[in-house]
Amino acid sequence: MNITVTVNGTAHTADVEPRLLLVDFIRTNLGLTGTHIGCDTTSCGVCTVLIDGTPVKTCTMFAVQANGRSVTTVEGLKQNGELSAIQQAFREHHGLQCGFCTPAMMLVGTALIEENPDPTEDDIRWAISGNLCRCTGYMNIVKSIEAAAETTREGASS
């Protein structure tokens, strides 16, 4: 089946089997390997991307379902050669260790800040509770998202 999916601003057209999972389309067909696979049961969230701004688990969606929609992956976070606030914050606050959960965590954080520019610690923990991290114990991930929210607010008010 022929589909066109806009990924990080670029439209990609491809002929795919209906059963192709969106995550494999992104990773294999488009070569964007920042989106990962970590489980078989929709539990870990490392495959999360934003579809029209909303986080979804791409291991539980077919590529054909994304036909005509707009996808943002970690590779699309950087804008005009500049790291986004959330990318900078993860680095500054040691929000990652092995890096496997990181792209998804940053995307979920981005969507959260978009919806709620001043999230509390509980808001953040709640928002990322569909995403597992095995390395960090989450404290620094929370801190990173808090910090990114703060810079984003400052950026918006200045």
Binding site: M1, P18, D40, P55, Q65, V108, G130
Partner: protein, 307 residues
């Protein structure tokens, strides 16, 4: 973990969708949020020949008030319920249950109606709807004969059916929906003075309930209970409406003893299995405890302590 091959259809009108269903019936699976169906397909517990994706059908995602009911349409996601001002205003049990479903990312896709159609005995929405005496609306192509494979010889000629939730939920993973029918909405009656609450014992976010208890009560001007709904998740072969406990409450003035009695009835009515989530004895205890707690919370809300 990959699904086996299938045909994929994504009609853009309801009519088209119903036509596909009328034509292919049994071999079609409707794809709503996909958050139950796709995991099952990946495990090859489900191998439908055709997937009918209804996500491109416009006008199926409302959460609103219609004819004295709160209506949740087929494509309203769990997350839409969490965010809905209508739900917040109108229905405490639904508002209370929605954040307990799955995890925040799954909630962005999974639908309330899909959950009901799936009828996993561990699903939370069926309990909520049982406690609220909801109705579902099913549609199928008019003018053709539709057969139900489960119930011998049952048939009808299409159109719209309004089904009470109790008649809809037949048994685990089984509903009274015809394979050619599509669920368009679930709706619950509005109420004046009432409150509801969902208590769920889960081991972590994203876990299905070890025990879930949905309660809803309405109060009359004399502060007596005029209506009560209690239903249980994960402690029976299917979601269980505890009618005896409801009856015991109606007409009574609320009290701790009364709620404790309802808890005892619920606890006796359930039939949980011992598994990695806990022993049957424990789950039975939790049913009683959570029923009591949930009713107390519902009362508080109904009395305006919180809303």
């Amino acid at each position: 973990m990959y699904p086996s091959k299938f045909d994929y259809l994504a009609p853009e009108t309801l009519e088209e969708a119903l036509a596909v269903l009328a034509e292919r019936g049994d071999e079609v699976k409707i794809l709503a949020g996909g958050q139950s169906l796709i995991p099952m397909m990946k495990l090859r517990f489900a191998e439908p020949a055709t997937l009918l994706d209804i996500n491109r059908i416009p006008g199926l995602d409302a959460i609103d008030i219609q004819n004295g009911h709160v209506r949740v349409q087929a494509l309203a996601r769990h997350a839409d319920v969490v965010r809905s001002a209508v739900i917040k205003e109108e229905n405490d049990l639904m508002a209370g249950a929605a954040p307990w479903i799955a995890d925040p990312i799954v909630r962005n896709l999974g639908t309330v109606c899909g959950s009901l159609a799936h009828h996993d005995p561990e699903g939370d929405w069926a309990s909520v709807m049982l406690a609220l005496d909801a109705e579902v609306v099913a549609v199928s192509k008019e003018g053709v004969t539709h057969f139900h494979p489960g119930a011998d010889g049952t048939q009808h000629t299409g159109g719209t059916r309004v089904i009470s939730i109790q008649d809809f939920l037949v048994d685990m993973f089984t509903t009274s929906l015809y394979p050619t029918e599509l669920l368009t909405e679930v709706r619950v009656p509005r109420y004046e003075r009432g409150g509801g609450n969902y208590q769920k014992l889960e081991r972590k976010v994203g876990d299905y309930a070890t025990v879930g208890v949905a309660t809803h009560i309405e109060l009359g001007d004399d502060d007596r209970i005029t209506k009560a709904g209690i239903a249980l998740t994960s402690v029976y072969a299917h979601n269980l409406k505890v009618t005896d406990a409801e009856t015991a409450l109606v007409g009574q003035a609320p009290s701790d003893e009364l709620f404790a009695e309802a808890g005892r009835i619920a606890s006796a009515a359930c039939d949980p299995a011992s598994d990695t989530r806990g022993s049957a004895e424990y789950k039975r205890h939790i049913v009683g405890l959570f029923t009591e707690r949930s009713l107390a919370e519902s009362l508080k809300i109904a009395q305006g302590g919180q809303s």
